[in-house]
């Protein structure tokens, strides 16, 4: 199991709003898993807890067998184990595509030549080679999200957490980005955990789970 959670609880506003109410689930290596559900049902919160960006009120998260809360080095988790793609691309506008993608490598202290080789490979696979030296402001929405995808995969993470990765794109572009996402995670052997409210996209994952009222209901195998 790459990711496992046990009795995960999370609330906001001093307990006034409980978003997660005892989440138990597991995710296996190389699988693509879709977390479906309406806005505010706790999909993003769950992804944040898995990434160690937030702490649960109760319960535990394990990533690659190590409890996130007790992870000696949460940085190591973000640098080497997990890549994250958000609904908004979250790129730094004044930097070029290449510079944005190299940020995780700079953070992790990866050799610059190695990092640039990796970027070249990812840019080729995402069709962004010709845009590498362009500033983010000059890129289209789809290109920006593909850039975010490259950045998330830069340090060869084992898990890719995608929070509504096509939510800010039109249907056609979103479909193309999602195709690319599935192709990349399959090619890299990465485990994908994706939050989405798009059931059509979700159905293309290996596994689809429904989140409602802070719980995971009726896990459904898509295939």
């Amino acid at each position: 199991m790459v990711v496992r959670t046990a009795d995960l609880w999370k609330s906001y506003d001093d307990g006034a709003v409980t978003v997660l109410k005892g989440i138990d689930f597991a995710c296996f290596e190389g699988h693509s898993v879709a977390l479906c559900g309406p806005s505010g049902c706790g999909k993003s919160t769950l992804l944040h807890l898995i990434a160690g960006l937030d702490t649960p009120d109760r319960g535990s998260v394990w990533v690659n067998g190590i409890e996130v809360d007790r992870h000696r080095d949460l940085l190591s988790l973000l640098r080497h184990e997990i890549g994250i793609v958000f609904q908004l691309h979250n790129l730094i506008p004044d930097l070029t595509l290449e510079e944005n993608c190299l940020i995780p490598a700079v953070a992790a202290g990866v050799n610059q030549r190695v990092a640039k080789d990796r970027l070249r490979e990812l840019a080729e696979r995402t069709g962004l080679s010709h845009r590498r030296n362009h500033r983010v402001q000059k890129l289209s929405g789809g290109e920006r999200q593909r850039t975010a995808l490259c950045r998330a995969l830069m340090n060869r993470p084992k898990i890719l957490l995608a929070d509504e990765p096509t939510g800010s794109l039109d249907e056609t572009t979103g479909g193309m980005v999602f195709d690319l996402l599935l192709e990349l995670v399959a090619g890299e052997g990465v485990t994908l955990l994706m939050a989405t409210h798009d059931r059509i996209l979700a159905s293309r994952c290996d596994r689809m789970m429904e989140m409602r009222a802070g719980k995971i209901h009726e896990p459904v195998l898509a295939h």
Binding site: L91, I92, D94
Partner: protein, 370 residues
């Protein structure tokens, strides 16, 4: 390279704000350099008056100001006759008023004094000095503001003196002063039989310590100090130096507050960016380095501009005729280093809170920040 770009990118994004911060630091540095340099220059010039062709100054012990010092003529004569002494000159300092000029420094000096012998005589004959007790020699600037020339009479206090010479010196105090024969000055200032200081040149400089000990043993009311020792310990100089550093330090503090304000604004405006860096594996130290790096750029640019501005201000002040001789536009390298180090420390200090704030940013919340 990316790290550097992350540091400077925000400065380029908010050019006006960055420029204002850099200007603030520059003004602080320029103010500190100018104030400290002017006062140190003034101290240096006053020291030069005392150390003109001499190595040691003898004056009254524990006196708060050399104008109040009283060295008996007998002591001056005995010191002058010591075998180790090449020459010793008694000098009396006084301040006198003239019409429209409330403060004119008067130097009561002997004819053999270096101030008379080594000055550039613009008019008059140095061999005539002290031949007549009513004769005075004016510094070039004093002659200018008193509208006097050789042969004319000037009113000093309640007396009238004949100008027998005009000398040009590089020292502002001397150039704007009046030289009188020592005996005439003693009578004029009612200090018969005394001088303010005795300036001493030894035959062998190595005997300075022995000479100083001898003076202190023989004349318990007097103290003998080497020129450098005097500059360091004289209470008036110390007060002036402390004041200069305090005023300069306040300027620097204001610059530091400017940097702090800029950096707080910077952190708030790039809070989402900081969160992106966190999510992509940047450590607290790396985030802090970006913020400190930005502050260091602002401070370094401001310090460089301030240094340039400080030198320009000093040269501009020196070009004012009334200040000529009082200002030394050269900035001591050590002073430059101290000011630069203090500026950098202030800048980094100013970035401390913003950096800590940035390091504590919670990525999840910051990513929601618009």
């Amino acid at each position: 390279m990316i790290f550097l770009k992350l540091i400077v990118t925000n400065l380029r994004r908010h050019r006006i704000r960055s420029l204002i911060s850099v200007t603030g630091v520059a003004f602080s540095v320029a103010a500190m350099l100018t104030v400290v340099s002017i006062l140190q220059g003034a101290i240096g010039m006053f020291s030069n008056i005392l150390s003109n062709d001499s190595q040691i100054i003898v004056f009254e012990r524990d006196v708060s100001d050399l104008f109040f010092s009283s060295v008996p003529a007998s002591a001056a004569a005995e010191i002058s006759n010591l075998p180790m002494v090449a020459h010793a000159n008694a000098v009396l300092f006084g301040v006198v008023a003239s019409a429209g000029h409330p403060i004119i420094t008067c130097f009561g000096v002997e004819p053999t004094d270096a101030r008379i012998q080594k000055a550039t005589w613009i008019a008059g004959d140095r061999s005539d000095f002290a031949r007549n007790p009513d004769d005075v020699v004016l510094g070039a600037r004093a002659a200018e503001f008193l509208s006097a020339s050789v042969g004319s009479r000037v009113q000093l206090g309640h007396s009238t003196f004949r100008v027998m010479g005009v000398v040009k010196t590089t020292n502002g105090f001397e150039d704007g002063g009046v030289f009188m024969p020592l005996a005439a000055a003693q009578t004029f200032f009612h200090k018969e039989g005394t001088s303010s200081v005795v300036t001493v040149k030894l035959r062998n400089r190595d005997e300075a310590a022995a000479f100083n000990r001898m003076v202190q043993a023989k004349y318990p009311d007097l103290i003998a100090l080497n020129d450098s020792e005097f500059s360091r310990t004289y209470s008036q100089f110390r007060i002036l130096k402390a004041t200069a550093w305090a005023v300069g330090g306040c300027g620097l503090l204001l610059g530091g507050l400017g940097v702090a304000n800029t950096m707080i604004m910077s952190v708030f405006t790039r809070i989402r960016e900081i969160a992106i860096l966190r999510v992509n594996g940047f450590s607290h130290a790396q985030i802090g380095a970006v913020i400190f790096g930005e502050a260091a750029w602002v401070t370094a640019l401001g310090a460089a501009a301030g240094l340039l501005a400080g030198v320009c201000i000093l040269y501009a002040l020196k070009s004012i005729p009334a200040l000529d001789g009082y200002i030394d536009p050269s900035i001591h390298p050590l002073l430059m280093l101290v000011v630069l180090v203090l500026t950098l420390l202030t800048g980094v200090g100013g970035a401390l809170y913003p950096a800590i704030y940035a390091m504590r940013v919670r990525a999840v919340e910051a990513l929601r920040f618009e």
